[in-house]
Symmetry: C2
Subunit: 398 residues, 2 copies
Amino acid sequence: MKPVKLTVKGFKAAAVKAGIRGKDRLDLGMIYSEVPAAAAAVFTTSSVKAAPIVLGAEKLKSGHAQALVVNSSIANACTGAQGMELARGVAGLAAKALCISEDLVQVSSTGVIGEQLDLSCFAKNMDRLAGELSEDNFMAVARAMMTTDTVEKIAFRKVEVNGREVRLLGLAKGAGMIMPNMATMLCFVVTDAAVSADLLGRMLKKGVDQSFNVITVDGDTSTNDTVLVMANRLAENSLLTGMDQDGAGVFQKALDGLLKDLALQIVADGEGATKLITVRVNGASNRAAAEQAARTVANSALFKTACFGEDANWGRIIGALGRSGVDFDPERVDIGFDDVLMVREGLGLKENEEQATSVLKQKEFTVTIDLKNGSASSEIYTCDFSLDYVRINADYRT
Amino acid sequence: MKPVKLTVKGFKAAAVKAGIRGKDRLDLGMIYSEVPAAAAAVFTTSSVKAAPIVLGAEKLKSGHAQALVVNSSIANACTGAQGMELARGVAGLAAKALCISEDLVQVSSTGVIGEQLDLSCFAKNMDRLAGELSEDNFMAVARAMMTTDTVEKIAFRKVEVNGREVRLLGLAKGAGMIMPNMATMLCFVVTDAAVSADLLGRMLKKGVDQSFNVITVDGDTSTNDTVLVMANRLAENSLLTGMDQDGAGVFQKALDGLLKDLALQIVADGEGATKLITVRVNGASNRAAAEQAARTVANSALFKTACFGEDANWGRIIGALGRSGVDFDPERVDIGFDDVLMVREGLGLKENEEQATSVLKQKEFTVTIDLKNGSASSEIYTCDFSLDYVRINADYRT
């Protein structure tokens, strides 16, 4: 079987070592579409927004973009007027190198908050980036986006929309400061589908709610979170403008799957993570309660350290549920690890502990909590809390 | 100068090794008043309440208590009808050994959730406990309450109320699962003051709000939290029944100071803690916003690991503020470490970084955040997040 080439019609990418913060590593990337693309994004919910976010949101009101420049090492957050000027300068340099309108250039940054970027790092490399653009170079951009990530995160989908082959390619980064409602994560999706900017925005929102908004590494949200999608229409399917159209469902499903795939890659590569854990809450009185209960468990440092210790310490789960503010009867709750029931009607099943411990020794498992207080469910994806999480974060800037 | 003897008129204490969970350590303690005392308590806000909490709250409706039995190692939480029966059994054994009414015996437990206590550990030791009661044996009870604590926590105050010397002695335990709004912590205060149960309850609530409710170790709240105060009137001050009475203010101040002292001892002994950190927020639009902002920073794993790494990484502080939901202008905020200003009007003062780093190398420091959005303030006390926190909590049950 011939491997699928991870390309999307009309999109090219390049990455270089720009020496940002003096580091000898890929730290600057570019994505470019041969034609202007419909574009939409979901940005951080934090009230502290990095300069590129402010600039990018403004530009995206047009519903279009043609290029993206992304750097790692410095986030350009909390950098005031100088930071805004820098972000504009980067867009200007890229526009010039690519001979396109500056309004069509999105800029994105990730890394340390509060330090200023040096425009010369960008100026010296922009022509080279433009010159090295290639259709099968996306992995290099995925690498250039990395901070404490240990692997590149990339996902691909190919679907048929109205008789035309449509491709979606997604890149993501993020390893710490990850929490439902967006977090320090960047995700860029390029597709050759023909979708109106308005519909693209709605589809993206839906996909993000089921992917990046249901993961957590450490409960911290960041200043730079971005999920950006560009659709350049080169697949030549008939333009999708509403969810009721033929093909819209297929495309949404592909987008959802791609985003979920990338989100889970982020959790699995959570800072110091050794396990990917699904916390599923059933039997809640409503969806919000289910999510609140699942999030409280998924963010509990005590639960996460117990997972790292491979200890089926369900008391910490019930402790987190108790403080979650969600209504339930502690004497009715069931808790299981994969298919091993550990708590029935609020009481521990000591005889199942050995089996439950075996589940916790796996790299991936699901904690299922049944509150028996209704029929609503929710899932949150998290990772364990290890010694390496502390090591990484005690040393991050140095 | 002769050292003050840490005694309170009419109160005695004892502790023994009862072999709970098979451990060879002090794990069972008793506090006893020669006469019935006015009593009040603040219990956990968790919806999952351990059996002794349910039983104790019911009994305290009378406003009186005369004895307390406390054990560590097993929390008697999530133990169902069997756990309730055990708690009642313990109270019964103590009542018999002390020849007092069972209604006047409070029971308290701390340790692992979900395991059953063995009544025989209590039965075998209750007469010995009663026999060994002594006025200067409170330190042994403080030791018997410990779980992952590394030191006993004890505080003492002596004040004059209406011409009579009044003494207050407090014991506390708690090291993890510590979070504002009570946490896995127990605190018992005995005083010979004459205070009505009703006023004692109000005074305690006020004191707890300024002490145990403004500390956090790991953002987790527990099933067993208790702050119990007993006042046996043997100081013979004229009975305090209202805050407007002479002497009430003096007593409240002494109680507040005692509780704060114990709360800070808990944070300083936070699991794995190497630093005691005060997070002070000024300039908030209202008190609730100030507290919300301070708590979000104080609970941020990224902030706490940076403190452990002695890294003046103010970006993580501003990141936490951004997601706190509190209204402020990121371009006006000031942040300082002790008296070193690190952020002015949202921008980092690189030139002060070396000095700020020196502050972080101290065992204790204050982070001061000025939101410049009003005049309300709040302080939360926290500790850093170290490798030992993970080690302790990955191994706790084993």
